[in-house]
Symmetry: C2
Subunit: 205 residues, 2 copies
């Protein structure tokens, strides 16, 4: 039997490279980082880098897979379209990003960030989609929405994520708690409209 993906050296090297990139991205920003920088930080050689990743972007994707798993685990336990506008589930995302603001700001503002934004957006949209379907099934309102659920979900995703991204560049303007509450509240009414559900408005705390 061979040892295709299980060699200790391989795992060690790849982990070191990932850690190196994540560490550097917070210092000098993704775009300015060279392969040499990465292997210096990882204490390995340039040749070795190319044996594992085709280029910097492929390494970034490997890093994102890791980060992404973390993020998903953060968001897993909460309901994103919580039909109570006062309890913003997106707050979990704000708090998560707040913990390593410098790092995530560097990542989400890098040149290759568009792909990352899309990835998060689509994940959020999908999560919202499933929740809406569940909620509507319970209320026996499925297939009766004035706007396709796909678009309602997408609207929530871009609305919430858009404010998150803005806030990351302007973190002092409002607290994470306030942002989450406000953002969720506005999106909430769009969702109700899109799904054909209406509720009596409640005052903001």
């Amino acid at each position: 039997m061979r040892t295709p993906e299980e060699d200790l050296r391989v795992k060690r090297t790849e982990k070191a490279l990932r850690n190196a990139l994540m560490s550097l991205v917070g210092k000098k920003g993704y775009d300015a980082i060279t392969i040499q920088d990465i292997v210096d930080e990882a204490e390995t050689s340039r040749v070795t880098f190319y044996r594992h990743y085709r280029d910097k972007n492929e390494l970034l994707n490997a890093c994102l897979d890791t980060i992404y798993d973390e993020l998903i685990q953060c968001l897993e336990p909460c309901s994103l379209v919580n039909l109570n506008p006062e309890k913003p589930p997106i707050l979990i995302l704000y708090k998560y990003l707040e913990q390593n603001l410098d790092l995530y700001r560097a990542i989400l503002n890098s040149q290759g960030s568009a792909a990352i934004h899309k990835r998060i957006r689509d994940y959020l949209a999908q999560a919202v989609y499933h929740e809406i379907v569940e909620e509507l099934t319970m209320r026996q309102l499925l297939n009766k929405t004035p706007i396709p659920i796909q678009l309602v979900s997408l609207q929530v995703a871009v609305g919430e994520l858009g404010l998150v991204l803005w806030w990351m560049d302007n973190p002092t303007a409002y607290s994470a708690e306030y942002m989450a509450q406000v953002s969720h509240r506005m999106n909430f009414w769009g969702v109700l409209e899109g799904l054909g559900i209406r509720q009596t408005p409640t005052p903001l705390a």
Copy 2:
């Protein structure tokens, strides 16, 4: 009197460079374009390029200034927070982008696109902001909003723009008209909530 910025040759060269980049970006995508590609297409020399722009990004910004003026002129005559949810002003943006979909898709999906997204987002947000202030002044509701106008505007901007960007990658799913109507309708209720104005819901056409 000198001729600082008005030499015919300068104007001709810079225009040729801008056109070259815009043309190439639709063919091979922004990231893959080299300075040599640009000057070949523009039928000038690399040295000349550097006399006018520091790098590719600076040229892109010059291009965007031009495009951006066009875009603003497109959006100028319309009200972005039109308080009638059935008349979506953002449709103008959809129609504008639809005209040169390949070009704008290439630009808005390029590696450096995050800065462009932000620029459009902030423009939209600012435009919405001014309109809201006007509307609220008329209704004598200024400074009485449950959510800061800045955040309401931003929410509208990211909501509308987010759907536009998604649609550009999925242009066949729904028509520009439908997207605009749906997006505007959902945002509309968020705005009403954010501003403390309420209206009786109307059915979607």
